[in-house]
Amino acid sequence: MSRHLRSIEELGVDGIRTLLDLAGHMAEVNRRSIPKVPALRGKTVVSLFFEDSTRTRLSFETAAKRLSADVMTFSASSSSANKGESLRDTVETLDAMGIDAVVVRHKSSGVPWQIARWTDASIVNAGDGWHAHPTQALLDCYTIRDRLPGRRFDDLHVAIVGDVKHSRVARSDVAALRALGARVTVVAPPTLLPPSLDGWGVEVSHDLDAVVGARGSDALDVAYVLRMQLERQEQALVPTLREYTSCFGLTPERAARLPDHALVMHPGPMNRGVEIAPEVADSPRSVVTAQVANGVAVRMAVLYWLLGSGADLAKEAE
């Protein structure tokens, strides 16, 4: 049985901690003058992206190359998927070539579970529908741990602001942060929350002003802003984007009311001026660029954890 990384729930809290620690070692590799180790030499990683996401794909491919894996890229727009080939045929074709891991992105929730039935390779979920984006959650947790040194997760309060309903990032971040013990408040109009939050272990607010201005035991440590899809206003989920920004946008005024130490995070790509003001995105408390940088280290950790020999990384690196 191959090991997979399909969701935070499958990984569990011990797995999260293992990968965050491993990512720390990978970050050290990335600081070297030649940021490359032979750990996955001879391994083949396929990036199978049915949905455009240049940044996530490049992050994974960079991670694989720094571990000396061979990388094959399948992008749906220029491939057999456009000629009507089924998902199953595509996966079985890749499998026949002899591959070790498939990094998959698909607009439909659950695809990583389906394709695991058709290949022996390890599956890495690079985002499935509204469901999960576990490497994003890991890099977010890594970034929080790195930028709030000395703080424990079970002492942190994170607000996730925006379109939780349609967000795989929100689902995976909630799962990871709750597993690590953090307090999580989701902030959105009811139309942008899932129909049920049973079992999520989160608090709910529809008042961003109250959440950013909270002090004492309710004070925020992280304001995590989700991308607002422009088409949501056409589905009667919000009346207008302007109204969304005025109620749920992280404006300079709201950011100024956050506690001094609080971080601002965003999974990218940002709609500047919609869910986050440009001044806030570029302010010192914003760690958006660090998230991207840490993404490479976290994805190296994931690939190494899935495909590595199990030997000590330091020895592998020699």
Binding site: S86, R88, S109, G110, S196, G199
Partner: protein, 429 residues
Amino acid sequence: MSTTLVLKGGDVVDQAGRRRADVVVVDGMIAAVGPDLDAPTGAQVLDAAGCLVSPGLVDLHTHLREPGKEEAETVETGSRAAALGGFTAVLAMPNTTPAIDSAAMVREVIELGRRASLCDVYVSGAITVGRGGERLAPLAEMAALGVRFFTDDGNGVQDTRLMRRALEYASGLGVTLAQHCEDDALCAGGVMHEGEWSSRLGLAGQPSEAEELMVLRDLALSRLTGARVHFQHLSTRRSVALVREARAAGLPVSCEATPHHFTLTHAECASYDPVFKVNPPLRTDADVAAVKVGLGDGTIDAIATDHAPHAPHTKELPFDQAPPGMLGLETALALALTELTLPVEEVLALLSWRPAMVGGMAERHGGPVTPGRAANLAVVDPAHEWVVDPNALASKARNTPYAGRRLRGRVRHTVFGGVAVVVDAEAQR
């Protein structure tokens, strides 16, 4: 040349109760029923020891896929699956390609059923042209060919005014309109039951209320027009309660429920296996419990399979893109015997004589098992245990959600029109 068949050593079960009796069938008709009858020379004798001899089962909800999707099922393969499941009558749904919305299409499917000759294939007609929900289909022309049941199944008729007109018109023909209850606007984009699991799995939901709204609307229309309405595949706790209340108030309504809605819940979707995608969707434990109560207290008239074959390459898609539907004909009886805590007589009532009444098939199907009646019978071994193997099914498709499940109760023989079409669980045609 007369043909004689004897079912020996079983207990006859029908609406008159249960008694030890052999059944002698001559030329398609039941000739004698009684204990320890002698088999005439030359008669085919089928062992029924330890078995129940029941009127053949009747399915009010079968998708045979022909014409249009012969890759998934044909009238012949579906009829064979039906016979193996103990059914001697099925009601073919009209959502074929093209839809069964004209006399010509009705004739074609009836003829395909006659040719297969494994069970009676009754045909339901579409309420609206092309099941498009815009114009009434020629109900009278189809009724003249014997069609007694009309539905746009797969779709509910959304337009309230059109549904009112359809009910009024149908009441003049003495036919029944059946509804797939789903408010499209409220369900838009939904691929599973809306709730805890859809939220967690990141799949768009179909709220229970989308079904209940249409049940409520059609109860109002039945009251307004006095016309009969049959509710197909009810799946929610409140739908069952609404129908219970309406029946108590004397409205002329009937309803059915499927085996999957009393055996599976939305938690199954966590595997993202599209074999669990069905419409109406699998719902909650409370809904499953309420369907069981409705089956037990008489609110629900019939267990109907909603047998919906899909070829593997069309079903093995991402969950949100896969077509809804699951196989049902070959597992329905065993699921009912295994999962319902009802006496076997009541299970058979729900699968045979009550649906035969609702579907207007009581002349030939659903018993009683008495001399002079057409010999459409199922011989059921209620104790036989078996494990569902998708590859062993007679249906062309493989989309059963019960692969690997251990069930109790099996159809041993099926007699259709006096002919043993299934003997010892093997199809003879």
